[in-house]
């Protein structure tokens, strides 16, 4: 019996030691940055052998809550500058704006509800999905629809408030919703996208900030903000900062 207890104790001590050497940079990024940051992470790892970039995506609102709750993140890339500002003391150094984005209305390829223009989402009978109001994508979408003058009609058509913008995309791709509002960078071949008139566009900026003093954190932020990093973001459909 005593030997079993000793073996368990030894195992616990050994198991709690981390992996040798190898730096890890934990990056929390808005879900709209999924493809771009996965690409940037791989490139950063190739440029810095021995470093692993661990990525976690979600709505910026959800990530901010996790960081506030003590999540061990080194870098935060938000779709909303306000959320980053709210983190206050946890941010190290100056946040850097690395990209911008714009909104589009999306429908399934076969457009079952006949949504010809963006404003058609307010037409009775159109099943619309948006991100939840407190999530950046949901906030921006409602602001854009308000600028278009169709917010009241669109709100009546909302059938679901999704947790993040990628969930909006999924519901439209599956054909469960007739239309959704997401970022231009989220459009896939399975979707049909409608541009919003210029007057309806809202400014969407992506600040990135280091949350720890880890040199890897600052290094990654600098990389994303560099000309190389911004070029990768533009390749993925983002606008210049």
């Amino acid at each position: 019996m005593r030997r079993v207890v000793a073996a368990l104790a030894l195992g616990a001590v050994v198991g709690s030691c981390g992996p040798p050497a190898g730096r890890e940079v934990v990056v929390l990024a808005a879900s709209s940055l999924t493809e771009a940051f996965t690409d940037l992470g791989r490139r950063f790892e190739r440029a810095h052998p021995g470093t692993t970039v661990t990525l976690a995506f979600g709505s910026s609102a959800e990530l901010a809550v996790q960081i506030d709750g003590g999540a061990p993140a080194d870098v935060f890339a938000s779709a909303d500058p306000a959320l980053l500002r709210r983190l206050g003391g946890r941010v190290r150094g100056e946040p850097v704006r690395v990209a911008t984005n714009r909104l589009v209305v999306v429908t399934p390829r076969d457009d079952p509800a006949g949504v010809a223009r963006a404003a058609d989402v307010a037409r009775p009978g159109v099943a619309l999905v948006l991100a939840a109001p407190k999530v950046p994508a949901g906030r921006y979408a409602r602001a854009a629809l308000a600028r278009l003058g169709v917010l009241a009609g669109a709100e009546r058509n909302v059938v679901s408030n999704e947790a993040d913008v990628k969930a909006v995309v999924t519901k439209v791709v599956l054909g469960e919703a007739h239309a959704g509002v997401c970022y231009a960078t989220d459009v896939t071949p399975a979707l049909r996208a409608l541009e919003l008139p210029r007057r309806a566009q809202v400014p969407i900026a992506y600040p990135v900030a280091a949350l720890s003093d880890d040199p890897g954190a600052r290094s990654f932020v600098s990389y994303v903000a560099s000309a190389r990093g911004r070029a990768v973001l533009e390749d993925h459909g983002f606008g210049p900062p």
Binding site: M1, V65, V135, V159, S160, N161, L174
Partner: protein
């Protein structure tokens, strides 16, 4: 009395270690609910809990769980009877199929429901043509809850029917009672405890359903945002106080269910 106290060397250690581990286990299971109660912002409770969005979510939860229970009873009771009393080929397969929703991860259940009853689903496409759209509706939320909760009812009722046995029913039949009379006066009273326990578990499971609901029915206040979904949204958008308070209401309901079921959850 001295002979009772005499212990062989080492024999006293095993129960003590087990007891210690058991205490850790109790702490592990009891701490989260207790911590919820301790962490709750009691001062703001009255105000937060009377928020229309919160009341909508709680009311919708009650409606959806009760509808799910009703659906489970209507579909599940005959199924339980068939499994307990009838013999047909593939009975074991049917029983296994009935248990699957119980062990399926809820979000997987949600994806399955979309594949079956979604607008472009196997059965959903036909329903769509008839004008019935289940995703994003309260009916859809009840359906999702029923899918994951019905097996609890079926399993409990089947067990009750099996243990009640046919003897009393056969005796009533030889005394001349018709089938309906037997069902009402003999069968139902003998399975009433199992039926009540199964129904309570079914209702409680339906109340707590999250993964299948949010995937299949979506999240819209007043239509599909049940209490667990409201808790999730409050957590995701930086309102932990609201999340804790609604969680406490759900916890209180769960404790009430456990109290009502006392004695029935462990095997006799």
């Amino acid at each position: 009395m001295a002979s009772v106290r005499r212990r062989r060397r080492g024999e006293g250690a095993a129960p003590a270690v087990l007891g210690a581990v058991a205490c850790v286990a109790v702490a592990f299971l009891a701490l989260p609910p207790l911590a919820l109660a301790l962490r709750a912002p009691w001062g703001a409770a009255a105000e937060r809990l009377s928020d229309p969005a919160v009341l909508d979510a709680l009311q919708l939860s009650l409606v959806v769980s009760t509808a799910a229970l009703a659906l489970s009873l209507v579909l599940g009771a005959p199924l339980a009877w068939a499994l307990a009393r009838a013999s047909f080929p593939g009975r074991r397969l049917v029983r296994a199929l009935v248990i699957v929703p119980m062990v399926l991860p809820p979000v997987v259940a949600g994806v399955g429901l979309l594949s079956a009853f979604g607008r472009r689903g196997v059965a959903g496409a036909a329903l769509e043509r008839l004008g019935l759209t289940l995703p994003f509706s309260t009916t859809g939320a009840a359906l999702a809850a029923a899918f994951v909760a019905a097996p609890f009812l079926v399993v409990a009722l089947e067990a009750g029917l099996q243990s009640a046995g046919r003897d009393l029913e056969d005796a009533a039949a030889t005394l001349g009672a018709g089938r309906a009379r037997i069902l009402w006066t003999v069968t139902l009273p003998s399975v009433a405890p199992s039926l009540a326990a199964g129904a309570a578990l079914c209702w409680a499971r339906a109340l707590g359903e999250f993964g299948a609901t949010i995937t299949f029915a979506g999240n819209l206040r007043g239509r599909t945002q049940t209490a667990p979904l409201a808790v999730y949204e409050e957590l995701q958008t930086g309102d932990p106080d609201g999340a804790v308070l609604v969680s406490l209401v759900l916890l209180a309901i769960s404790v009430a269910v456990v109290a009502a079921l006392r004695g029935r959850l462990s095997p006799r």
